[in-house]
């Protein structure tokens, strides 16, 4: 009876996209904070290679975060 009242496939899709979205954005933002912090620390200590690697990590993570924001705006305007 419940199956006829609720679209189970859509409900399941909403659940997994919510969880993947939350974890994915948190992963990207945490990597951004981690990359920026470590890059700054290694830079001050003169370890340029390490600073560069963490800097690249921060930039990639920032791009992922911005992509998530753009995706959220698209979802809002097309629902």
């Amino acid at each position: 009876m419940i199956a006829t009242i609720v679209d189970g496939e859509k409900l399941f899709q909403a659940i997994w996209t919510s969880l993947v979205g939350a974890v994915g954005v948190t992963l990207a933002f945490s990597l951004l904070v981690l990359g920026a912090a470590r890059s700054s620390e290694h830079g001050r200590a003169g370890r340029r290679t390490h600073a560069g690697v963490y800097g690249v990590l921060a930039v990639v993570a920032l791009a992922a975060c911005l992509a998530a924001v753009v995706l959220a705006l698209i979802v809002m305007t097309t629902k």
């Binding site: 969880l19 933002f29 629902k79």
Partner: protein, 367 residues
């Protein structure tokens, strides 16, 4: 003439509900940002008000399904809509008085269902729609947000746990501004739509609009303005409950709670499940807190919130039904809605004055 007076009363009442919706739900958007000191209270509320206003224009698909899929359209009259709105406003003010976050959407649905039930009997309520569109999403959404907040904060602590606190605090405070902004936008697109839908429904029922008409521009602008104004004036008591009485949050918890809340709202809305932003954010806040340790969540406060959630639909339905029955004592003209509006206005002002005299202000929300 009577029909025109009633429609004016309904529109004013709908905008009053929209104001209480923004006022009541400000906490959903800003509480975590304020409690972690990512933003000063007044700045957080101002940004939320602007983004709620913008959000109301982002998507203009009328949320007539709020009433259309839940009650039989044939029983919808301006008086039913009016009684439903009064039920929703009464519940919103009561829960604000006690500082409890509850769903404005469910209050609106409950009020309309109660009024429709009294107007047209049991057949007026579409049980399948009520269960599928309201009850089941209401049970699932907070659990999903809880799980999202819980998993996200565990992951975040794993990655940033060994960093200096200063880096983490600065980084996640910036992140909270972005995640809070998305929440405010999502709230504007969801909740302002419901008021637009109800006003449009009343205009159709009164013959001012064709049955398949969308909301006129003035409805969109006034609904957006009312929810933004309500958000700006903010329900500080509920902000305090959401921001610090459920759990004391750090900035990473604030960020993950807002992110889990925003993704749940967006994913569910995109899949076509109308849900309560209040339930989602509360669930995400509890999930972020429980991940640190279960005892971090004040389960007594969480229990009070859960009781308010359970009571929202029946309590608003009871008031909506009672208001409809009372209104009909004075016939089908404008006399009933005018008398009820006067009573509500006096009672509402008395409640607000009493609360302001006794209740905490911004300073309490900051602590």
């Amino acid at each position: 003439m009577g029909g025109e007076i009633i429609i004016v009363i309904v529109v004013v009442t709908a905008l009053a509900f929209d104001f209480t919706n923004g006022f009541h739900d400000t906490a959903n958007v800003v509480a975590t940002s304020i409690s972690t000191r990512a933003l000063p209270p007044r700045t957080a509320v101002s940004i939320a008000a602007v983004l709620n206003f913008v959000g109301a224009f982002l998507s203009l698909k009328v949320a007539a399904t709020v009433a259309g899929d839940i009650v039989n359209q044939e029983v919808i009259t301006t008086t039913v809509v009016f009684a439903g709105l009064v039920g929703a406003i009464a519940w919103n003010l009561a829960t604000w008085y006690f500082g409890l976050p509850s769903s404005s959407s469910h209050a609106l649905i409950g009020g309309v269902v109660g009024a429709a039930f009294v107007a047209g009997g049991a057949d007026a309520v579409l049980g399948d729609g009520l269960l599928g569109k309201v009850v089941i999403p209401a049970l699932v959404a907070p659990l999903v947000a809880f799980a999202g907040g819980w998993m996200s904060i565990l992951l975040a602590y794993r990655l940033i746990g060994r960093l200096r606190p200063g880096h983490v605090t600065r980084g996640f405070r910036v992140g909270q501004i972005a995640s809070g902004g998305l929440l405010a936008l999502a709230h504007g697109t969801n909740d302002a739509q419901k008021t637009m839908g109800v006003i449009t429904l009343a205009l159709i029922a009164n013959g001012n609009l064709a049955p398949d008409a969308g909301p006129p521009d003035w409805v969109v602008v006034t609904a957006a303005t009312a929810i933004a104004a309500g958000t700006y004036f903010g329900g500080w008591r509920i902000i305090r409950t959401m921001g610090s009485r459920i759990i004391k949050m750090d900035v990473a918890q604030g960020f993950t709670a807002q992110t889990a809340g925003a993704t749940t709202i967006l994913a569910a809305s995109h899949a076509g499940f109308p849900l309560s932003t209040t339930h989602v954010i509360s669930g995400a806040v509890m999930g972020s807190g429980a991940a640190k340790r279960l005892s971090a969540v004040r389960w007594g406060v969480a229990g009070n919130i859960a009781v308010a959630w359970v009571l929202t639909l029946p309590a608003a339905a009871l008031v909506g039904g009672a208001v409809y029955a009372f209104t009909r004592i004075f016939g089908t003209g404008a006399a009933g809605p005018i008398i009820v509006s006067a009573i509500i206005l006096v009672a509402g002002v008395a409640l607000v004055v009493r609360r302001i005299q006794r209740g905490p202000s911004i300073s309490a929300a900051e602590t």
